[in-house]
Symmetry: none
DNA sequence: TATGAATGAGGGTTCATTCAT
DNA sequence: GATGAATGAACCCTCATTCAT
């Protein structure tokens, strides 16, 4: 109950993300967050300027690995091997920040209006850009997009499917690698 | 302004879907819907019992083709040809009710709590069940799921990608067919 | 279900009284009344000008015996025998229109503002006037009032007490007669 | 206008009770209460969770003396003297919390559905239980009930009767004591 | 580092009532 | 003798936000 002091800001973000992911951004009120933390709403305002700000904070923290991935990908040769590595790392990043990505995916309509919305879409486009070539046929472009979406779907929707988690993740990665492989040889 | 009488119920659904898809369910207020239709909020309540009811109405109307598809698929032999046909028809259904599906996808967090939430997930699982076999390897199961998600992604996310719509749809279908083809021969 | 025609007005009053007595006047909506009768709200407005009008109609119908009692009492000699007879008849009138009186008693705050409110109070005062004499001591005046209230309490509150209904009514009457008897001999 | 701070909660209860007693619970809106206090409706919700909660708060505060009376009565010998004392104290409690009891009496239909409804009835039954014996004849049971109701009637309805308040209260108490006395010797 | 008290705006919902048909 | 469609006003309630302490 009485967690260590000085980390309130972090605790707010943790609880907020948990609730945002569980119930959605709009349906989660600051009252709820405050109650879970056993502080007052006003306390939240000491740490964050607005509700959206809490989300931005979370986003910035959890999104850094993905930014680094994008930066890293930029400097690599655009070979199939690179792309495979990107997919591997992408999956890791996805799993590491699972609640945030689940949230992003399930609250697109909301997120779109928020200042992080564009950022998120830009990031996805950036990642797709790393594995997709301009000279790809339309079909292969779709394959590239599909590879990324497969990983998203695989990470979240597949929960409803029976099977060992580890095994599922491997299968998902395999399909994604397969798709990018096909795209590449098609070109 | 003064549109033909007797179709108010339909007009409410149309405007509501438009706004729901555009801004999200929670952020769309009944006041807004009413104003667009130039009626009072109370008029909405003559036609629907609650806000959720408006959504349910829309859902039931637009979801029928998909139900028919599922029913049809049930009675077919579980051959590759059937599955290909299912994917083709699925894409059609998706495009026909595009705004609804966009809405469903972008408001998952909200929809999950609503009474239609379960229904929707059940439907997706049902469709996946039609193209996926129990004896599939995990990888091929993922391919089946991926085929469906590719179509969703392809129908909505791809808008952000340059290219002719028609051509994109064909490419999306091709990739989906490909995935199910691979899954089938893998078995 | 399909009751005889032409008596809709009466059926409205019946259902309305039932609901008013059960839930209170304010908490009973016209929608509810209409639904129970399987007609539209608008139909109620064919028969009555306002919601209050329904109540007024009920009141006028069921209150007539009491008016007649008051009129009758007025013409009688102000003897103890007369007063005893008035109490006997009062109890009968009370039981005959039990739901209305229960309603009146339990919705005084509401009824007070309604046009029948005064009427009701006037009637009670009139009845009390029939059994109470100006030269009564204050104590005996209270006894007169108490005799009437005992009957009201006895008719409604006593439901919560165990015992045969008939027997209870007799006991209630006995106490009331006793009170007026004491008042009379006290004078 | 700007009354001392920190007592807002109390002020809300005061004004609310005043209005509830005057116009009834349903007809009193939170807007009205807020306006009288020169605060916003939302302020009321800072202090109370719901409208009903305001009433519950009032009830709990004002009802305590009566609870104490019941508790006290429980520990006394069941003699006539005890019962007389109970009636005396009951009248005091009634007068001390007159507006609340007037409200309870005039809004029975409403109160019945509220969470305090049962509580109130239970309390009345408890008090009656203190002055009534199982071996009483039905008539004497009625006398016990009547004693209590006489006090209620006497405290509220008698306002409409001419006479000095103090004198009336004494007369009411006398009649009540008389009734319980008769009941007791009847046994 | 927080809290207590309050606000303004808006939410969904219900109501009695009207009126053309 | 009734309905279908709609309205205007009001309702209770919740929210993100503010600010003096």
């Amino acid at each position: 109950m009485a967690q260590a002091r000085g980390n309130t800001r972090q605790r707010i973000q943790d609880v907020a993300l948990e609730l945002f992911a569980e119930q959605g951004y709009e349906k989660t009120s600051l009252r709820e967050i405050a109650e879970r933390l056993d502080v007052t709403k006003a306390a939240l305002y000491y740490h964050f300027k607005t509700k959206e700000d809490i989300l931005i904070g979370i986003f910035e923290d959890l999104t850094r690995p993905m930014d680094e991935l994008i930066a890293w990908g930029h400097d690599q040769p655009r070979t199939l091997e690179t792309k495979q590595e990107i997919l591997r790392r992408y999956q890791e990043a996805l799993l590491a920040a699972a609640p945030l990505f689940r949230f992003m995916q399930e609250n697109q309509a909301t997120v779109r209006e928020l200042s992080i919305g564009l950022t998120f879409k830009e990031r996805m486009i950036a990642v797709i850009g790393l594995i997709q070539e301009p000279e790809f046929s339309m079909t292969d472009k779709v394959r590239s997009v599909s590879a990324i979406f497969t990983m998203h779907a695989g990470t979240f929707f597949m929960e409803n499917i029976e099977g060992d988690a580890e095994e599922k993740h491997e299968a998902v990665l395999e399909v994604a690698l397969d798709l990018i492989g096909q795209a590449h040889q098609g070109a």
